[in-house]
Symmetry: C2
Subunit: 277 residues, 2 copies
Amino acid sequence: MKKVAFQGEHGAFSEIASKFFFSEEVSNVPSYSFEEVFSRVKNNKVDFGIVPIENTLYGSVFETYDLLLKYSLTIVGELNLQINHYLIAQKKYKLTEIERIYSHPQALGQCSEFLSRFKRTHITPAYDTAGAAILALENKTEPSAAIASIEAAEFYDLEVLESNIQNNKENYTRFLVICQKKNDAEVLNPKTSICFELKSIPGALFKALSVFALRDIDLVKIESRPIPQKPFQYTFYVDLLGSLKDEKIILAINNLAEISNNIKKFGTYNIGETYSS
Amino acid sequence: MKKVAFQGEHGAFSEIASKFFFSEEVSNVPSYSFEEVFSRVKNNKVDFGIVPIENTLYGSVFETYDLLLKYSLTIVGELNLQINHYLIAQKKYKLTEIERIYSHPQALGQCSEFLSRFKRTHITPAYDTAGAAILALENKTEPSAAIASIEAAEFYDLEVLESNIQNNKENYTRFLVICQKKNDAEVLNPKTSICFELKSIPGALFKALSVFALRDIDLVKIESRPIPQKPFQYTFYVDLLGSLKDEKIILAINNLAEISNNIKKFGTYNIGETYSS
């Protein structure tokens, strides 16, 4: 059975994403951090990793972008998961009794309007939504709850106090599936991810994008991250429609190499399907 | 005396930035959140707000970008502050005794290599580096420390256990100064910040950047944020060299309006100086 590393405890959204992505049964391996997911893939401890890259309310997951560059793994797939958050607690507690709420900082951000109703409740960041469920279960001194998935409620035998508490129902997280090897699967609906450094931005970003625009290559996402050794310089990450085997993409990347540094190709994979958690 | 709202407790880097920015003496007002800073400026409770927008190691501060759009205030200045982090604790503790370290999540990220030496120490996020100093001071049950500024050590009478513990010495945070009114100061070295929505990215971002490139307007920063009601659509924030009074910038923004929605002009201000904390 293939092994898939994900960040968090059983019941995390990444594990749910893994269940949707892989048609065959896989063994999902909980990992402490995003970096542990990348490192397990790099060191062949697992076959794949699955990591969030972007949420439609909260924005990009920058650690994932930085780790893609650091570990030079291949992206072999993506999927979008509609995120539904639940406030869950032990059966003995009512909503009005809750003194502490645990969750991942991004989930806390996604439920900020709901949380603003709790004036005297302590809000405590946890490293993962499912880990938050464990903290709520294990806190013996205060009536505690967690913001997590319905699957986490089922897994840890917790009760739902309130459903769909996110600010916005149009809440999707896009996940990437990463692998040590090249993608050898057939790609019918290709998307390609690359990144590159620009020496300075004035004019340079326009020129960089022109290598794609002039060849009618569609750019569907752009993100920038600071380069640690070079203050106020950036690595740009772009997602393109098309394959690294397409001649116009090969030519565009050759052209890009004339005006930018450190181009990395993360691979070509199928545009993701959307599922509901 | 003018009042300036900043996020955090006295001794926070934002307060240090305020001291460098304002040549006259001002009253710096601690605020619980970035949103409270914006709301105090909007409701005329203070004259100015000062907020971090970008760190050269960790990246953009997205909450600030989102609040700029939400509150429609004017940017009247910026500055860069070199960030030096210190591990500080009560005088009675040695480095090897520390069981818990508090700091703001971004400061924890900036000191991740130093922190990786502490295998059995609890790392606890705090809402602010100076607030972390207070938590370290008030924790009576565990020997605790905080990652904060040297000013926070002085303010709360804590001892420095280790200096300059950030991963990278080239660690700068750029701060914006925001105001309810338009900037009426003379701007000798102008930078202008705007944002706009693109209906879809294929080709559209290239066209949007072309309105500046074709007029030789330099773009020094670009950032994108998701639009909550429109999954996988983005607001782009750009900083341009020049003034909103320059004819070529006026023409470029008129041109931009033909191909994008919801253009906001945050104002023209002097390019920031760099200071060391």
